[in-house]
Subunit: 139 residues, 2 copies
DNA sequence: CGAATATCCTAAGGTAGCCTGAATATCAGG
DNA sequence: CCTGATATTCAGGCTACCTTAGGATATTCG
């Protein structure tokens, strides 16, 4: 579970770890309107994910997740397709527009990371990440 | 305006600066129920502050601030007293309980800061603050 | 087959945290 | 003393985000 994290995510986690509540980031123009929508984008698998699966991952009820998916479907970021392996289920799948949206978000994040490196220097940026890593590991 | 900031506040500001939205911190048991309540505690002056003054500082409408103060008054953290210098206005003043609440919050924050120093070492903690300071100044 | 289980949907409800609009009281200046 | 600005309050509304309740349908298991 100790995956590679970008600096802003580490900042957020550190902040959260220290007893603060944070709202999930809405980074850049590529992302949809509601902060909670990123709960879908962050989780959805390339082959598509089930509603209940997404709900469990986001720790909300399937009904609440259903509403989010409704909205994202309306915005044409995802579509619901029948699951070929289980005819009870439907798969929530990203559309091209959805993938473009994620790509735009990633570009924004990369831009921010770049700006951090510019400000702190490569060495400083590495130092910052190391310190944050230590904080997260200790927490 | 470049006052001394503790590390957690700096983390939060940095995170916010980088395009994320954060909910104000609820640190420790000393603080009241709602995150937004800290908008009052953070601003209120020892002699008391006016409602509109607090509203401007928190960048919300006086009506919204009025509701927050209502709640805090209900919880006996503050009282409304007539302003001796202006009979239109009332002063929102901390009670003993309110001051105790702030003190408890500060104690909690100090505890967290202490834990950070323990984890990173005094040198590491200073380094972290320096790096965050740079990020904030650049933003 | 029939019962239990899984998935999904609709509907209704609730809270937090804001907002606008309008009423009332007071102040400050000519 | 009239006028326009300022301070507060009451009333009503809104959005984001989540819940519980109940029911439809499809699948798996004994």
């Amino acid at each position: 579970m100790k995956q590679q994290l970008n600096t802003i995510a580490m900042l957020g986690q550190a902040y959260s770890l220290l007893g603060f509540k944070i709202v999930d980031g809405v980074v850049g123009a590529g992302f949809p309107q509601k902060p909670s929508h990123s709960a879908v984008f962050a989780q959805i698998r390339p082959e598509g994910s089930r509603l209940t699966e997404l709900a469990r991952g986001a720790n909300i009820t399937p009904q609440a997740m259903g509403e989010l998916v409704d909205e994202l479907e309306e915005l044409e970021y995802v579509v619901r397709r029948p699951d070929p392996t289980d005819r009870r289920a439907k798969l929530v799948v990203l559309t091209d527009k959805g993938r473009a949206c994620i790509a735009a978000g990633i570009t924004t994040i990369e831009g921010i990371e770049h700006r951090i490196t510019e400000t702190l220097g490569a060495h400083g940026h590495r130092q910052l990440r190391t310190l944050l890593r230590k904080l997260l590991d200790a927490g």
